[in-house]
Symmetry: C2
Subunit: 155 residues, 2 copies
């Protein structure tokens, strides 16, 4: 399991998040900050396992976490915020199941395991999936992204 170290000795713990939002052209409102903290700072203690940092959340889940953390946010705002973050490149939307959207805090090039039995999503580590060959994009189109989803079931 890979560990990722981050220096979190900043005296003002929100400064980083505020700057990040501002850099994306989003006003650092109370709600956006709280959601950003839940998404990007989970654990919050400076040393975090990749499994914790790479989150795959649905709007409902994140809303639930906010409630649990006593952050008042409406579900509509959670939806709006997730989409704004996605547009800003802070999140990546992953579609594996019709009727539910997952948002991935890992925006690097990578692919996913999907556990059909539980509905859980998991990053495939590093570049252990590699395409040997990618076809030409059809006339007039260009490739925006390649999604690989490995669907799993319990053995």
């Amino acid at each position: 399991m890979t560990l990722i170290l981050r220096s979190m000795t900043d005296a003002r713990p929100y400064t980083r998040l505020i700057d990040r939002l501002k850099a994306s052209g989003l006003r650092p409102t109370r709600q956006r900050l709280a959601l950003a903290k839940l998404l990007f700072d989970a654990g919050g203690d400076g040393v975090q396992a990749a499994a914790v940092r790479n989150r795959h959340v649905t709007a409902e889940q994140l809303h639930g976490e906010a409630m649990a953390a006593d952050v008042r946010v409406s579900l509509a705002t959670v939806y709006n915020t997730l989409h704004q973050f996605t547009e800003a490149g802070l999140l990546r939307e992953v579609v594996v199941e019709s009727g539910r959207s997952y948002f991935d805090t890992n925006v690097d090039d990578h692919h996913h395991f999907y556990f059909e039995d539980t509905g859980r999503l998991q990053d495939i580590p590093g570049d252990s999936v590699r395409l040997a060959e990618i076809p030409e994009a059809p006339q007039g189109a260009e490739i925006e992204r390649v999604d690989v989803i490995i669907r799993l079931r319990d053995r």
Copy 2:
């Protein structure tokens, strides 16, 4: 463009479909037969381009086609039928967009182009996508299927 030839000189044009449904343990009802015809026999003149035979339909679309062909089927039945066909291995469900399901008449191993601008789905011919490396399935799980979706946007 590959052409696929089929002998369609059968005097009873529905015999093949009826047998196919029976073989799947599905009663060949009027509705199922009509939908099977629309799905698997589009064109119906014996020589069909692959592009016509490999269909990607939503329930709404298929329902619309049925209406246009003066086949009385309720939308609920279209949904049920699509799922039954999928369970029987006659169709394959493809998820590219949260909130809309596509059903693919091509059940062979293959992958997809997805035109984000139009919402259209297209088979990637043959095996021009190939994975160089597939990771181990995590403990206790086995790989059921690998989906590759190449997302395209207009250039």
